[in-house]
């Protein structure tokens, strides 16, 4: 079973290299990045999980919505895979691969989607609005851009306490980049000179609105210099490129360079949510190079370079499917929250609860 980066770091002292990977890769061609195969497995796990969530949603077993990261897995995994236990991660809507790579257990995902009272959100919030702040996984709110400054504050707290070597990584899309909150967050990050990486994925649509109605600048990366960030672009369909560029940004932030902005280009290969058929996505844009499916591209690379044999690939798929099945069947057996048993209390200070009775 593929372990999370955090757990592997704890249990084996070496980050993110499941034992089976070393064996599988032995004697084959060198991968284009030393975390390439590990990253691919996180992508595969995310895709497998989300395909299953979609089918549960279509079968009426998930209330609310399902929001997947199809096409964004390469960018996302690169966001999560280089982070260490003490780092802060603020993922967004399409970051399943990164969340898993950072250490979110699958059961947190399925419990939240299926409304188990045992999940981190306990039925109080759903789908992608989840996190474990105590484990440095921030829980996004729907209002885009808001989590950038929250990440800045978390990093300032660490600095106040004298910690060293930590970074924060906050995810955003090109849609969220157009909010005032994002702008304020970027500016204050640079003013505070915190070790922050912001990864912005341009998936070419804010829900149904194409880029030409979202912004009018030549290239989003040009904003980096205006904020006082160092800026880099990346082909979000190319896993090795994502690992190189985002990994490089993480490294630079960790050694005290100014905040880092990475802008990745992809096409969202799904609707905004599964309720959306994405009929507004034009045939023309689907033929763009950035419209490739990063998972397929990665798989082709693995096959073409003979990084692992087909039997190993099949085994990895089975492993992902098994993990997903276990996480779903476990959550499905768990009780849902009940209104008459809920603790309807929005503050932790019990004696200051305003009694409306």
């Amino acid at each position: 079973m593929l372990q999370t980066a955090q757990r592997t770091a704890k249990s084996k002292g070496k980050k993110g290299a499941p034992a089976s990977l070393g064996e599988a890769a032995a004697g084959k061609a060198a991968p284009p990045h030393d975390r390439f195969l590990e990253a691919f497995r996180w992508m595969l796990l995310a895709r497998t999980l989300e395909e299953k969530l979609v089918s549960l949603y279509r079968g009426g077993q998930i209330t609310g919505g399902v929001y997947i990261g199809k096409g964004q897995e390469a960018v996302s995994v690169a966001c999560g895979i280089f982070l260490e236990k003490g780092d802060i991660f603020a993922p967004l809507i399409r970051d399943q691969a990164g969340r898993s790579a950072f250490g979110e257990p699958l059961i947190d995902v399925t419990r939240t989607y299926l409304g188990s009272r045992l999940g981190p959100m306990r039925g109080r919030d759903g789908n992608i609005h989840r996190g474990r702040p105590r484990d440095n996984q921030l829980a996004m709110i729907s209002h885009l851009g808001a989590m950038v400054s929250v990440t800045v504050g978390a990093l300032m707290a660490k600095r106040f306490r004298g910690e060293k070597g930590f970074i924060g990584l906050s995810c955003i899309g090109e849609g969220g980049m157009q909010t005032g909150s994002f702008h304020e967050g970027m500016n204050i990050a640079a003013v505070e000179q915190v070790p922050l990486v912001v990864v912005a994925t341009n998936n070419h649509y804010a829900y149904s609105t194409p880029n030409d109605r979202e912004f009018a600048c030549h290239d989003l990366i040009d904003r980096a210099i205006g904020y006082g960030f160092e800026g880099y672009t990346v082909d979000g369909t190319d896993l090795a490129n994502c690992l190189d560029v985002i990994g490089g940004a993480v490294k630079r932030a960790r050694v005290g360079r100014p905040p880092q902005l990475v802008v990745a280009s992809i096409l969202r290969l799904s609707g905004h949510g599964e309720h959306d058929d994405a009929s507004y996505v034009t045939d023309e844009i689907k033929r763009e190079p950035f419209a490739r499916d990063c998972l397929k591209v990665t798989e082709h690379t693995i096959v073409d370079l003979k990084l692992v044999d087909t039997e190993t690939l099949a085994e990895w798929r089975r492993d992902a499917a098994t993990q997903v099945d276990v996480a779903i069947s476990t959550a499905q057996k768990e009780a849902a929250p009940e209104g008459d048993e809920e603790d309807w209390c929005a503050i932790s200070t019990r004696d200051l609860v305003d009694s409306l009775e």
Partner: protein, 322 residues
């Protein structure tokens, strides 16, 4: 020696910075040698280097940063330059800080200081009282201190509380209100105080309106009426029991607040007293708020826009005749 309401706020922050290394102050112009638009942080940046930090004009990011820091062990105090500008941080306060404990089980111990309320000539954007908006949303505590003593002890308590606190300090009281010395302890938040005892009418109020109400009580005493004045101290939690107990003695209730009328704290008090203490009332409960217009600039307009002693007295007399 005497100490003003504003100095009490500064002294509370100095004590907090001295006693608790998790505390830092974050806001526009609070640092350097300037010490804030109202000087509530005067000298603190020098005394506590690196812990009283100027920010860009970014209310959203100021609060967002405080939330992140609070989540990771700090006790930030955010100074809004004027309460009015906190409207550009509403998203972080209401949707992020206010929902966080409920959603994730991790509370957000931030204190947001709002220099609130009107002073002459300040106009629509430097005069607002926003306690009713914040009280409307779940997950926040809303303090409205009316005395020098409360300004001091409640700010210290605000920072100690594990949840987000909106601390509404009244700008009119900054220099007008003085006390001989700072208290060592105060009433706990959530407990209203009987500011003046009486048996004919209860005026329930908070913040600067307390002093208008006390002036009215004094004036009506000369007319033979005994007015009981309740200082709510915090509008959330709202000490309904103390108000009900007072109404049980007087049979009449007038609520006075400075925020806009629609859905205000005064409306909430009347709703509760009517629902729970209808049998105690000898007359229909009444309320007074600012007018339902933006706050005017000119002193002639401003002085009648918000409730004042003259109008409160007029309303009180009418209620006493009922």
């Amino acid at each position: 020696m005497s100490i003003t309401y504003l100095e009490a706020i500064r002294e509370a922050q100095a004590k907090l910075l001295r006693d608790d290394e998790r505390v830092f102050i974050y806001g526009q112009d609070v640092g350097g040698t300037f010490g804030g638009a109202f000087k509530a942080t005067k000298g603190l940046a020098k005394e506590f280097p690196g812990r009283v930090l100027n920010t860009p004009i970014s209310e959203d990011a100021m609060v967002g940063t405080a939330i992140g820091a609070a989540m990771h062990g700090m006790r930030p105090i955010v100074e809004m330059q004027f309460a009015d500008f906190s409207s550009t941080a509403l998203n972080q306060i209401l949707n992020n800080a206010g929902t966080h404990y409920w959603r994730t089980d991790v509370p957000i111990p931030i204190t947001v200081r709002l220099p609130s309320g009107g002073t002459k000539g300040s106009g629509p954007f430097h005069s607002q009282s926003m306690e009713s908006i914040y009280a409307h949303y779940p997950g926040l505590i809303v303090m409205t201190p009316a005395t020098v003593e409360d300004a001091y002890t409640m700010l210290i308590e605000a920072v100690a509380i594990d949840d987000p606190v909106i601390y509404c300090e009244h700008k009119y009281l900054y220099y007008h209100l003085k006390a001989e010395k700072l208290p060592t302890e105060g009433l706990p938040t959530g407990k209203a105080r009987i500011a003046r005892e009486g048996r004919d009418l209860t005026i329930a109020t908070y913040s600067a309106m307390l002093h208008e109400a006390l002036a009215v009580a004094e004036q009506l005493a000369s007319e033979g009426f005994e007015i009981e004045v309740v200082d709510l101290r915090s509008v959330k939690p709202l000490d309904t029991n103390t108000v009900l107990a007072s109404v049980a003695r007087t049979g009449r209730l007038l609520c006075v607040g400075e925020s806009f009328p629609w859905g205000s704290a005064t409306a909430e008090i009347i709703a509760r007293v009517t629902a729970e203490g209808f049998h105690l009332l000898d007359a229909a409960p009444q309320r007074m708020n600012a007018k339902d217009t933006p706050i005017p600039y000119h002193p002639n307009l401003w002085s009648v826009h918000r409730p004042n002693a003259k109008e409160i007295a007029r309303k009180a007399r009418a209620l006493l005749r009922e």
